[in-house]
Symmetry: C2
Subunit: 483 residues, 2 copies
């Protein structure tokens, strides 16, 4: 049975009891056992009791720290072998392309856009269709533990506003971007902004709508979204940059995904020097800019992006599926660039950031295969810990949420998931399996009982799916649960 509740307010306070696991650094996960996390009525972590020897002791300790009466508190206790983990952060996802996941054939970026993507996006000006697609997308990503999503919608204002409404009502933290495509000779005639003026007007319309429904952008924020340099005019990008400066808004776009695309940018912006320079010279490389892909960046581009403190969304599923290439995460880290993970649906086939993390380890190994020097080859590989960092704290830093979410610390908001794995009994069956059993489908992870916590986390990374995500909270609100 799958039970997805709409966002519901907690009793008054909440205390989560059990094992908490989060990134201590890029290289290291921290395992906090017999712990209690107290969450206040605003969804903020008010106190944490760590390593108390027992859950009872942890509960008592955290109630003492907060001074809360037990009767005012919803207690949420981990089951055996379960643990709390920070919610996942998807730094690049096209909600409007969700129905096309897995459908890409042998295409690469530019023909994929023409053949599969623009027709679908265009069709979402039908608001009934948009509601169906966006509802399914938000619910599905929540069920995979995505507590923050950075969405591309479409060029259509009402449909984009609908996506923002749905994120708010379903309780997902989101950045929602109306897509700007004002370059008439490049964008398809059936799917583009009518003019640069119209494009900027529509961007503002969408911002105004989100300001109306969530005035402080507590849960849903607008994000300026020039699709990518080829679909935008210089005037359009300059106009978005002006809005960015005035409103201090985040920006998202694509960069250096595919060699044909890079050539196109070079043709359209002669003398620009590089793809990154195009954005920079139009004022779009800001500390609040998230650049998706960054597969083929030059040294100079990486240095420029780093100096502007812009961020990168690594989308390994997409980059492998569309044969775009293999982005070098460790190289970007060494350049000082913060990196997060993106599903990039539907260039990427999966709604799951856990799958993106899994594919990030594999892509790093495909990169490693091409390196002769053994030490460099080993270094190239990303570890379990590193990709789970990308999926949580890395993503938070990319989106300017580093102080708000990504780990369990006092003052942060509770964006989290409860994870449960399957346990194999002595007879080789799992609890809930077997003839006539009315059991729960524990998913595709089998824990035999002798594994260390580190090994359980590795098992979850490589075989986990939405069945292991038992509950999801955003700002302390339960937004998804399943048996």
């Amino acid at each position: 049975m799958v039970l997805t509740r709409l966002a519901s307010e907690p009793k008054k306070f909440q205390v989560l009891l059990g094992t908490f696991i989060h990134s201590k650094s890029r290289a290291e996960l921290e395992y906090i056992h017999n712990a209690a996390v107290a969450v206040d009525e605003g969804g903020k972590i008010a106190a944490i009791a760590r390593e108390c020897g027992s859950l009872t002791a942890a509960r008592d300790e955290v109630l003492k720290q907060t001074g809360w009466a037990e009767g005012d508190v919803d207690m949420v206790e981990c089951g055996e072998g379960q643990f709390f983990f920070p919610g996942f952060i998807d730094t690049h996802v096209h909600a409007s392309q969700y129905p096309n996941v897995g459908i890409f054939g042998k295409s690469t970026l530019l023909d994929w856009l023409e053949k599969y993507t623009f027709p679908l996006e265009s069709s979402l000006s039908d608001l009934a269709k948009a509601r169906k697609v966006y509802t399914a997308c938000v619910r599905r990503t929540l069920s995979h533990g995505t507590t923050t999503a950075t969405y591309y919608a479409t060029v259509d204002v009402p449909a984009t506003n609908l996506l923002a409404d749905l994120c708010l009502s379903l309780g997902q933290r989101a950045f929602v971007g109306r897509v700007c495509m004002d370059r008439q000779e490049i964008c398809p005639s059936y799917y583009r902004d009518e003019s640069t003026e119209q494009s900027l007007h529509n961007a503002k319309e969408s911002i105004a709508h989100i300001k109306k429904i969530d005035p402080s952008y507590d849960l849903v924020s607008p994000i300026l979204t020039p699709r990518f340099a080829p679909s935008c005019t210089a005037e359009g990008m300059n106009g978005l940059s002006a809005i960015q400066k005035k409103e201090n808004l985040p920006v998202q776009t694509h960069i250096s995904e595919n060699k044909g695309e890079i050539q196109l940018v070079s043709d359209l912006y002669p003398g620009s020097g590089s793809y990154a320079n195009v954005y920079d010279s139009h004022g779009l490389l800001t500390p609040k800019t998230v650049l998706a892909h960054a597969v083929h960046l030059t040294e100079d581009e990486a240095t420029l992006i780093s100096s502007r403190q812009s961020k990168v969304s690594h989308c390994p599923c997409s980059n492998s599926s569309l044969t775009s290439g293999e982005a070098r995460v460790r190289w970007m880290w060494e350049k000082g660039i913060e990196v997060g993970l993106g599903t990039d649906m539907s260039g990427g086939y999966s709604p799951s950031i856990l799958e993106a993390a899994r594919q990030a380890t594999l892509t790093s190994r495909h990169l490693a295969m091409q390196i002769e020097d053994e030490a460099l080859r080993e270094k190239s590989k990303l570890t379990v810990e590193e990709v789970l960092y990308l999926a949580t704290r890395g993503g938070a830093l990319c989106l300017g949420l580093g102080e708000k979410v990504g780990g369990f610390e006092v003052g942060k908001q509770l964006d989290a998931q409860l994870i449960g794995l399957g346990c194999v009994q002595d007879d080789g069956l799992r609890a809930g399996e077997g003839e006539d059993a009315e059991g729960v489908d524990a998913g595709n992870v089998d824990v035999f009982g002798w594994e260390s916590w580190e090994e359980r986390i590795a098992k979850w990374l490589y075989n986990g799916d939405d069945r292991n995500t038992k509950r999801v909270w955003v700002r302390g609100r339960l937004v998804h649960s399943r048996r």
Copy 2:
């Protein structure tokens, strides 16, 4: 709810009604609608009625063809949007390593064997532990639609025999191999055959056991299993070759997985010329030999393997995880080598051949990224259709089962799965979802309703999992089902 039944005999005859999809060729899937497949009491397909306009007409047609009375027949009808697909064939899987799936850190083949693999395999001489591990493995792979598995067990005879017993009782078609490791100076002292003589004796013991429990090898067959050249002596391999010739048994081993391994083989067999030559000169390159990995084969080795009609098991999950390399499936096809897919648990992290197929498409794209010439690059990529061929008919041909399983044809046995995908309703929810719903977990594939059959199959390949495998039959027997 997950309901896995032990193998149970059908009523007398069975008729499956609905849409049947299977490989027509490597490049093409065939979609057969309004069809009926009649299965006799031996699990064999007795008649097929195709494209009859309606399921009723198909049922009537097939009953007419067979002359069966309706009362003697169990009717199995596809639900809306469901389809029958051939069972998956796993041509390389270490049942004994199942508990280690996902646990490999940054290791590569040789250190992975020492650190993770040999200690676990060795521990399965404890038969209670072996029963737990093997039961879980067989049940899990069945639940993913694997109707035929080619297993490595361990060096231990009783535990190997137990695996064969379990395959028979749980109803999975299997090749079960006792692992031969008789090279004293290379194999760990705690995990090896005592001597070459003992190794060959134990191989025969295991064969004798399987001959006793399944005399015609109808469901379970022994398979000669020299682990890989480094762990075997020349005498050991010659001895296995003699058994092979006498008993006409299949053979499985590893080849050319990792560069360090290739160097080791070259050191241990000086003057052999190549890794493939080592097996050939010891009589082990036969038409019934399945070679796992084949990542770094030379042109000469591929030509030799092709001339011997030996087969290759492609294990993309494993080869990416252990940074072994990228096997060139299309190149092997062009050399005339038949290829199947292997999960290679636990070098590979997943029990699912659907995941192996998915990773086969991605690995082919990582290969393509390294090719400058556009036409060659495009050609390198494997399609949805091609990897599903590898997963079914390709695997069948690798195991000498080409006439028996892999597709829906009269005279073949019914090794099949019923696949169901999730359907998104107009409100964006799926049937069975929502507050207080007592629904079925339809999995991670969302069908919106406008997709073609080809697109549905692509969605299944890229986001499907065991939740989509509703029922599994081997030789006509229902061996797994779920709601």
